[in-house]
């Protein structure tokens, strides 16, 4: 796998617990006639990012050819104050009432990772989606309340076709309001500088301590053949990501469904999604058994009569049973407050 993580820890000597600014890129490099065949788009992206943040006081993290598991982890890393994602994207177009050409944010591996951006750690202050025409997508997430636990989050993207390097520069500049200030030094280009106020408000943020009423559910996954990482979703909202699974592996996981998401039994339909943007061949995701921990209810695979799952890149488990009553819910702190304990 070409997923090489490069970690730069610069200028953090005065503060070992500096917040992190993270650049994640996930795209292929097209052939450009005047570049050598070894040239890759990640090189200029890294240079731009380093140049702008080297004096910022933030810990700089750069990862390339990022997969969806890494993206999910970084979106939920409590140490991240800003995340810049660079990949291909497209906006939704409504073809007619009830039929759309869906929006997409497609990574290097052909996964549509747009749903991952619906769930961001409440410590994050700036989220940039550097991709073509992704502005309406991210703004819709914000206006529909996906980031209601994080009122200070600023999102930034583009409503047009954009070049990767130009887009990243613009997004970095736009992040200054959330991360400190931007200073343009003649001949040296612009730099982001943090301020004590921003660093202090980040380190003293206690939004991660908030608790939610959740229903606890366990899931067993058996993969006859190697299975990809999958997202568990309710109404396109990701509850958790399950890692890749080897052939013959049996794994058990727990996940939590916020009671606020459940208004009717159909809201407990669980989609198991490889997130692969398109495949003409069925992706074997595994066999899943879902068991509620403290309420009654059953899930059944949406399948043909012979048991073959219906769905090429995703499977659906339909719920039968009553909506669990509120007293079956438990209070849970959803987000980690630190990974540095």
């Amino acid at each position: 796998m070409k997923n090489i993580a490069i970690l730069f820890t610069l200028f953090v000597s005065f503060n070992a617990l500096a917040a992190r600014v993270v650049l994640l890129s996930s795209l292929d490099t097209p052939k450009i006639w005047y570049h050598s065949k070894d040239w890759e788009i990640e090189e200029p992206l890294e240079k731009i990012f380093l140049k702008h943040f080297k004096k910022s006081g933030y810990e700089i993290v750069i990862k390339e050819k990022v997969d969806q598991e890494t993206l999910w982890k970084e979106l939920h890393n409590p140490e991240n104050i800003a995340l810049f994602w660079v990949s291909h994207a497209k906006e939704q177009t409504q073809l007619t009432d009830g039929i759309s050409n869906d929006a997409a944010v497609v990574d290097y591996y052909g996964n549509d990772v747009k749903d991952l951006f619906k769930n961001v750690h409440p410590n994050m202050k700036f989220l940039s989606l550097v991709g073509c025409n992704a502005e309406s997508l991210i703004n819709n997430y914000k206006s529909s309340g996906e980031y209601s636990n994080n009122p200070n989050l600023r999102v930034h993207s583009f409503d047009k076709k954009i070049d990767a390097r130009k887009g990243l520069r613009k997004s970095i500049k736009a992040s200054a309001k959330s991360l400190g200030f931007y200073k343009n030094t003649f001949g040296k280009g612009g730099q982001i500088y943090s301020t004590p106020e921003v660093q202090n408000s980040f380190s003293s943020n206690i939004a991660c301590l908030a608790k939610e009423e959740v229903f606890e559910i366990s899931i067993e996954r058996y993969t006859n053949q190697a299975g990809p990482s999958v997202a568990l979703k309710i109404n396109s909202k990701i509850l958790t990501m399950l890692p890749k699974s080897a052939a013959g592996e049996l794994n058990n996981y727990k996940f939590f469904v916020p009671s606020s998401l459940i208004k009717s039994p159909s809201d407990l339909k669980i989609t198991i999604d490889s997130n692969q943007f398109y495949s003409s061949e069925r992706i074997e995701l595994g066999e899943f058994t879902i068991t509620p921990v403290n309420f009654l209810g059953k899930w059944k695979l949406f399948a043909k009569k012979d048991g073959t799952p219906i769905g090429i890149t995703k499977n659906l488990l339909r719920y039968s049973g009553e909506i669990p009553s509120q007293d079956m819910a438990t209070e849970k702190q959803i987000y980690q407050c630190s990974t540095r304990n």
Binding site: T29, H88, D97, K161, S266, F302
Partner: protein, 159 residues
């Protein structure tokens, strides 16, 4: 242009292979072909979905190629994926549907999209119009009659 031609072929000879090479690589075209087959499963007309904006006819590729040639790395995802979306029950009448049908469809829209993905996956360069209709008929009983009726109405709706 090639999209318009595809539609023309459909109306002239349903025995012709309607997928063409584009359907193999472009899920939007595959989706539109699938919807056309759905629209004509039973009563209905071939929709004019083919004429609506998408990158399927290659119009998005021109700026991409131009961009790369001058060194731009445009972050444009040229393809797309056709999906059903929930409908406002208030618009049921406009679509010639009953409100309860729309409500049932809205509750089964995920199932509808999974079935659509199954149908699209079976479309290739040799698929005929009859084939698509046949594929849809295999899946008809999997969905509720109300949802299937709404899907047909959406696919056949004139633009």
């Amino acid at each position: 242009m090639s999209v318009a031609l595809l539609s023309l072929i459909l109306t002239q000879t349903s025995q012709a292979a309607i997928g063409g090479m584009t359907a193999l690589f472009n899920p939007v075209i595959g989706g539109k072909i699938a919807l056309t087959g759905l629209a004509t499963a039973g009563a209905g007309t071939i929709g004019s979905l083919f004429y609506r904006g998408s990158c399927g006819s290659g119009e998005c590729l021109a700026p991409l190629f131009f961009g790369v040639s001058i060194g731009l790395i445009l972050l444009d995802e040229a393809n797309g994926k056709i999906e059903f979306t929930k409908i406002d029950p208030a618009s049921a009448h406009e679509l010639g549907l009953k409100k309860f049908e729309v409500l049932i469809f809205n509750s089964e829209v995920e199932e509808a999209n999974l079935v659509l993905s199954e149908v699209i996956s079976q479309i290739n360069e040799s698929t005929t119009h009859e084939d698509v209709t046949e594929i849809w008929s295999e899946y008809e009983s999997i969905l509720s009659p109300e949802s299937f009726n709404v899907m047909k109405a959406l696919a056949s709706k004139k633009q």
